[in-house]
């Protein structure tokens, strides 16, 4: 209770109104005090001066009655009688003078007029020469020659100054209270002889009664007036300030405070007509405007947030749609054992521009591709859908890879005002023969691993991107795959994945990651690469979509091989194998014979001379070629470098050595040799076109 009362008082005394008013009243008071003091002093001085002047005039008048040369004569007046009633005056002049002086004294209403001769040795004594008193004063006039001690030092000094220093006028002021007498003023002037020397001093004492009463009256008046004025003006001011200033300011501050707490408009328009004072009106209207603005901003913000949330929901929906559009069931063709395929796409933003695709175009042909649309987010995602569907429908029409890309390019250039473009690598493999046709539209080179080998980049010069420009040519490339070969496709989100030190994952690292384990499944391969990227990137953000496709060819339908011990018995097995395959292929007799001769030559070389323990012969055919491959684990031997026999020699001179290889060289269309992973690999190609 007490403290709340204290708080109330505190809060009141800290208020604007109170401080203003108390300040003004205080100031008024001080001002009045100062002013009245000045007035008081001024009044006193003026009046004193006035009295002084008056006393001096009287003194001067009186001085004319005194003959300065005759002071000593006056002092020799017999019996020292004064001008008392009933006494006889000695010296007519003296008497005459005395009477006149007395008259002056009465008429001028002064208390005393007297002339003294001061003892000039020490100014400590004086003799009365003339002495007149006012009838109403109650004094007794001194006798002539009456000796008296100087009243005090002040008089002494004045006497001295008059006698010695030529002081013409001396004044002694006595305010009330000294010795119980009223306030009075004494003027002293010198009486000079005819030589100009001071012979006596004439003094006039005047009461200052009017001064005192006047002053008192002044003070009383001033005091009363001040108080009245102060109170009145204080009250007026207080009222005025409170009504026109403090109250509006209070209302404004109350409203600002309320708004800060409630954040809504007030019901009662508290700031209307708040004041006539311009600044207060401005303040009030500013506050009203700020309230409006604040509320509007809050509304806008709420709306914007709701909108953003809605967009986020739609985007996540879009992500789902996009994810569902890429084939994501693995294995996609479970009945097909001749190849394994796996692919993944991790978008950087909710929706991305990368995609992969694969399709069985007919029973024998598998198409697969990886592509990267410029940009990320919704625009890239939309263009990606378009590109994917365009390419797929062209592929399903049975066209060649370069034609597919060429026509896809034309279609995608149409209506491409946004200037998007897409890189792509498209391959179509004939699963009977292992022939892979591919075209590269500005995309990263894929990696290929031949069976028992390691991953290397397929470095063919890429054609231009898709949807960049119309009429651009796309080049078709062809390679022959063998069972066990693997291809790995990816987008630059893999090779350009960055870590916090701004290093790139890079092509070398990708290759090395793939080569770590040659026997991984295609799915494991993609996962290995992904986790390698993740651990490389660390805390760094994923900036680009990461897409990869891994495909391994286990067998081709038209491809077959036989593995044997490298001995003469096995050569019969090999002969039977070749016989069967050539029959199945319905080859003409002469080609069959050729094949058998070649196989005989090479295989017998292997088991006779190479020291191999194992050999493999494979037979592969497509519409134009028959490819025989011979593999053995014997000592390295490159038949291509064998010296050719001189076939022009006569029978006697002829050597038979080297003839076999020579015959093979002559009968085959092409011969290739490699020594890989501890094995000789000889590839013989025979043209079978009719």
């Amino acid at each position: 209770m007490k403290s709340s009362k204290v708080n109330k008082i505190k809060s009141f005394t800290s208020g604007l109104a109170f401080r203003l008013i108390s300040g003004i009243v205080l100031w008024l008071f001080i001002f009045t005090v100062i002013l009245s003091s000045i007035g008081y002093i001024q009044f006193t001085e003026s009046l004193t001066q006035e009295y002084n002047d008056s006393a001096f005039r009287t003194a001067e008048s009186a001085a004319m009655l005194v003959n300065g040369d005759k002071i000593d004569e006056y002092l020799r007046t017999e019996d020292g009688r004064n001008g008392q009633e009933g006494s006889t005056f000695v010296g007519e002049e003296y008497s005459d003078r005395w009477n006149r002086m007395n008259l002056l004294c009465q008429k001028q209403n002064v208390t005393l007029i007297y002339v003294i001769k001061v003892d000039t040795s020490d100014y400590g004594r004086f003799l009365s020469v003339f002495n007149t008193v006012n009838d109403g004063s109650g004094y007794t006039p001194w006798e002539v020659g009456f000796e008296r001690e100087t009243t005090n030092e002040e008089y002494e000094k004045i006497y001295r100054d008059i006698y010695e220093n030529g002081l013409e006028q001396g004044t002694v002021v006595r305010t009330e209270g000294l010795g119980g007498r009223e306030a009075h003023i004494t003027s002293l002037i010198p009486i000079k002889d005819s030589k100009g020397a001071v012979s006596a001093i004439l003094c006039v004492e005047r009461p200052m009664d009017e001064l005192v009463s006047g002053r008192k009256e002044y003070l009383d008046n001033i005091l009363v007036a001040t108080i009245v004025l102060a109170v009145f003006s204080g009250a007026c001011l207080a009222w005025y300030l409170k009504r026109h200033f403090a109250k509006p300011v209070e209302r404004i501050s109350a409203e600002a405070d309320r708004f800060a707490r409630e954040n809504c408009f007030a019901d009662n328009a508290p700031l209307e007509d708040i004041s006539q004072i311009r600044e207060l009106r401005m303040l009030a209207s500013s506050i009203s405007k700020m309230e409006e603005d604040t509320l509007r901003y809050m509304e806008d913000l709420t709306r914007a947030t709701a909108e953003r949330e809605r967009i986020a929901v739609e985007l996540s929906l879009a992500t789902t749609i996009q994810t569902n559009i890429l084939p994501s069931t693995f294995p996609p063709y479970p009945n097909r054992k001749d190849f394994d395929i796996f692919a993944s796409m991790d978008a950087a933003k909710e929706v991305g521009g990368d995609f992969y695709d694969f399709y069985l175009l007919d029973n024998d042909r598998l198409g697969f591709l990886v592509a990267d649309v410029s940009g990320k987010g919704v625009p890239a995602a939309l263009f990606m859908m378009r590109a994917k569907m365009t390419i797929k429908s062209l592929a399903e029409s049975g066209a060649d890879v370069n034609v597919i890309l060429s026509e896809a390019n034309a279609k995608l250039c149409e209506g491409n005002d946004a200037g998007m473009f897409v890189t792509a690598w498209l391959g179509i493999v004939d699963t009977r023969t292992g022939t892979l046709a591919y075209a590269n539209a500005g995309h990263n080179p894929p990696l290929i691993r031949h069976r028992d080998g390691s991953f290397e980049y397929i470095k063919t010069r890429p054609s231009f991107i898709l949807a960049g420009m119309e009429g651009v040519p796309y080049k078709k490339n062809e390679i022959s795959l063998l069972p066990g070969d693997e291809i790995f496709l990816y987008t630059d989100g893999v090779t350009e994945a960055t870590n916090l030190d701004e290093e790139l994952f890079g092509e070398a690292r990708l290759r090395d990651t793939l080569n770590r384990d040659p026997n991984e499944t295609v799915e494991a391969r993609c996962k290995t690469v992904k986790s390698a990227i993740d651990s490389f990137a660390g805390e760094a953000e994923q900036f680009d979509d990461i897409t990869m496709l891994s495909v391994r060819f286990n067998s081709f339908q038209d491809y077959e091989s036989i593995t044997t011990l490298a001995d003469s018995f096995s050569s019969e097995l090999v002969w039977e194998f070749i016989n069967r395959r050539t029959k199945k292929a319905e080859l003409p007799r002469n080609i069959t014979n050729k094949v058998q001769i070649i196989v005989d030559e090479i295989y017998s070389n292997i088991y006779l001379y190479s020291g191999a323990t194992k050999a493999e012969v494979s037979f592969f055919m497509d519409s134009e070629h028959l490819i025989l491959t011979f593999r053995d684990n014997g000592k390295p031997y490159d038949p291509l470098t064998a010296a050719e026999p001189d076939i022009t020699l006569s029978a006697d001179e002829r050597e038979v050595g080297g003839l076999g290889i020579f015959m093979v060289k002559k009968m085959a269309t092409a011969l290739e040799y490699a020594y890989e992973d501890g094995a000789n690999l000889l590839t013989v190609t025979i043209s079978v076109k009719s």
Binding site: E601, A651, R654, V656
Partner: protein
């Protein structure tokens, strides 16, 4: 591989059936060696010979060298494949092919 021989005094006709390659050539060589004695005219009938590889060529060359000193050797019924081989290897210049 099958060998059919027909000896008429010093003329020996050997018909080879099948193929003459690394597997079969040693057998042919051996057989030929047994029956070539005293022959002044050797005829190799290749009508039913499918093909010949370098191993076969070796045997044929050896026979030719022997017959140079003994008399003469003739090859008959050479088919396309065999002829091709003879030509590639220059044996067509050495042998007497009819």
């Amino acid at each position: 591989m099958k060998i059919n021989q027909n000896r008429e005094a010093e003329k020996l006709t050997v018909a080879i059936e099948g193929r003459l390659d690394t597997t079969t050539a040693p057998e042919f060589e051996k057989a030929l060696g047994e029956i070539m004695g005293g022959v002044t005219e050797l005829v190799l009938d290749m009508t039913n010979l499918e093909y010949v590889s370098s191993a076969g060529l070796r045997v044929i060359l050896k026979a030719q060298k022997v017959m140079f000193s003994q008399g003469k050797m003739t090859l008959t019924g050479v088919n396309e494949s065999v002829m091709e081989v003879f030509e590639i290897t220059g044996f067509s210049d050495i042998l007497n092919i009819q």
